[in-house]
């Protein structure tokens, strides 16, 4: 494997030394471009109390290309589909090489606090979120309890 770019080494060091509150990102023992991520469900959101596992992978041309991020824990959210793929502008066309792993994780945390059903990835979830928000929130809490709280 090619030597790890200075940029990735620096970012990893900083993530370990000054972790983002509510988020842990640990590089894999055998692959420094692969991160095991755990995001705590934000307070006052339907995901509160849940621990959500994600995987984050830095592609060969990172930071020119965005990291690839996916939820592993099942989650009921209008911008996250059944495969755990995330609809987030900075992971797609709004990516800038000046952004970092840290900013990506903060954006994902913010997405959990403020779901956006007008830019949906999971259509049925987004639909319910729009027509019956309280039922959608109930579903989200139920999924959090069932999939994100296993001791």
């Amino acid at each position: 494997m090619a030597a790890l770019p200075r940029r990735i080494i620096k970012e990893t060091q900083r993530l370990m030394q000054e972790p983002v509150p509510g988020i842990s990102a640990v590089p894999d023992d055998s692959n420094a471009r692969y991160f095991h991520v755990i995001v705590t469900g934000p307070e006052d959101s339907p995901f509160e109390g849940g621990l959500f596992k994600l995987e984050l992978f830095l592609p060969e041309d990172y930071p020119m290309s965005a990291p690839k991020v996916r939820f592993i824990t099942k989650i009921y959210h209008p911008n996250i589909d059944r495969l755990g793929r995330i609809c987030l502008d900075i992971l797609k066309d709004k990516w800038s090489p000046a952004l970092q792993i840290r900013t990506v994780l903060l954006s994902i945390q913010a997405l959990l606090s403020a779901p956006n059903p007008d830019d949906p990835l999971a259509n049925d979830v987004a639909e319910l979120w729009k027509v019956n928000e309280s039922e959608a929130i109930r579903n989200a809490k139920e999924w959090t309890r069932r999939y994100a709280m296993d001791n």
């Binding site: 200075r6 940029r7 041309d61 020119m64 800038s96 090489p97 000046a98």
Partner: protein
């Protein structure tokens, strides 16, 4: 030649001698104008266009770039960005630039929206925000914004963007910065990377052609021809290299008399409702008189039962005799005049019935076109045999191919009259349209009947029928082709 500049540009440039037109010479080279005017009067489908090679278009674009760059004393690279963001309308760029150069450069994303404060760099070393490497200041470069990055990062950024097919839209690396990287800036960072440079130039060319309203890539498979016309109209153009025909305005299959939006709506509807309409694709129907099963293997919709010789219509199963008359009703859909007072359920059923009526005819003519193509193939084989055995020459039989080609052209138009009628509002104009459509349809089926029986049809009779069918087609297009 009368310049049409005044009516298609919303900029008031008429009294400005700056706004000259550098295309005129290009288009004016060999056509005599008198002839063009006449053609467009007699043929509603007449369209003046040219098929150009990539090299010719490159030259054309470069001439525009060159003259703008000389006019405004700007680099060709900047001229390209300005033209690209103004649909290659030089006049508009000149007017805007002379009026307010700052605003023009901001709108074209050459300059940042808020003027960048000049940052005073005191140290000789800087840390690049992308690669986190500390380097001498001379290793850094920026666009017209304030965002400095090291040269190596710019190079990698361009390589990654180009690999994704992005070219004219490559922007600064800073978050939320919209400033674009012009061609000279990009190429400067790809100095020894020939294949990436070529890719980049290929992609920018593609973007330029796509943003140019007077140019269209031929949609034919693996065809590199670019069609060029001064007028942007929904008219038929045919590529002279691969023979693909399409609508110049929208680039899809030609669709007169229906316009670009309506045909799009219709095709989407057909795709959405494909399941409902599926049962229609029957190749066999029962004779309405003796009920023997009849297979349709020709394009003509005037059927004759092989068993009882009854003449009937494949579409509506009605007696063919009634189809020749002025009161021909097969193509028209009779709406229930009291439908507004019926239940929602009945209205939905009526809407479906109406759609299926038009869809069925649209689909049937499309099938007929294919079947008539097969008829033509068989005819070709038969005539080949005749010529080989001394029965006439190729020239003697040529009129039959002309007839078959004309039939295809007429039926194609007829097929596209159905979506047109479907979306038409009820009223006298629709009545006139349906009358003309019915007349056209009757003459086309007569022509098809005669082409299928080519060798036994009198040549004069056939040519007469060709003339009638084409006249009906042109009349309908003259009255309703609104482009």
């Amino acid at each position: 030649m009368a310049t049409s500049q005044g009516n298609d540009s919303d900029m008031d440039c008429s009294d400005n001698e700056d706004c000259y037109d550098d295309y005129n010479d290009y288009y004016n080279d060999d056509n005599s104008d008198g002839e063009q005017l006449d053609m467009s009067k007699t043929d509603p489908e007449y369209f003046d266009y040219k098929c150009l090679s990539e090299e010719e278009v490159e030259r054309l674009l470069n001439e525009t770039v060159e003259s703008l760059s000389n006019r405004l004393f700007i680099s060709p690279s900047l001229a390209k960005v300005l033209l690209h963001s103004h649909e290659w309308n030089s006049n508009e760029v000149i007017c805007k630039y002379k009026e307010n150069p700052q605003q023009t450069l901001i709108a074209a994303k050459i300059d940042p929206p808020t003027p960048s404060k000049s940052i005073i760099v005191t140290s000789t070393y800087l840390s690049c925000p992308v690669c986190i490497t500390t380097l001498n200041i001379d290793k850094f470069i920026k666009l017209n914004c304030t965002h400095m990055f090291c040269k190596d990062c710019w190079t990698t950024h361009f390589e990654v963007q180009i690999a994704q097919g992005i070219s004219t839209a490559i922007s600064c690396m800073a978050k939320d910065c919209v400033v674009l990287a012009p061609e000279d800036f990009v190429l400067k960072h790809l100095q020894h990377k020939t294949s990436i440079r070529e890719k980049y130039q290929h992609f920018t060319f593609r973007d330029y052609v796509k943003s140019h309203p007077e140019l269209r890539f031929c949609p034919g498979p693996n065809c590199s021809v670019i069609i060029c016309s001064r007028e942007i109209k929904a008219k038929r153009v045919v590529c002279d290299k691969c023979n693909t025909g399409f609508c110049f305005k929208c680039g899809c299959d030609y669709h007169a008399p229906t316009d670009c939006q309506v045909i799009k709506k219709w095709l989407t509807k057909c795709a959405d409702d494909s399941e409902t309409a599926n049962y229609i694709s029957a190749h066999t129907k029962d004779c309405p008189k003796c009920h023997i099963c009849i297979e349709k293997n020709g394009g003509c919709n005037h059927m004759q039962c092989s068993n009882c010789k009854h003449d009937f219509c494949w579409m509506c199963l009605g007696d063919w005799k009634s189809h020749g008359s002025e009161y021909y009703e097969c193509s028209r859909y009779r709406e229930n005049p009291n439908i507004a007072h019926e239940s929602a359920h009945a209205q939905a059923r009526e809407a479906l019935k109406k759609y299926l009526h038009y869809y069925e005819r649209w689909e049937n003519h499309s099938k007929s076109l294919k079947l008539e193509e097969q008829t033509l193939e068989k005819l070709r084989t038969r005539i080949n045999k005749k010529v080989m055995s001394g029965l006439g020459t190729w020239i003697d039989w040529q009129y039959l191919f002309t007839a078959a080609n004309l039939l295809a052209k007429c039926r194609y138009t007829l097929q596209y009259t159905y979506p047109f009628a479907y979306y038409m509002d009820t009223g006298p104009r629709k009545e006139l349209f349906e009358y003309q459509q019915a007349q056209l349809e009757a003459e086309i089926e007569n022509l098809s009947w005669k082409v299928e029986r080519a060798e036994t049809t009198d040549r004069g009779d056939l040519e007469n029928q060709m003339d009638i069918a084409e006249k009906r087609r042109t009349t309908l297009l003259k009255d309703f082709l609104d482009v």
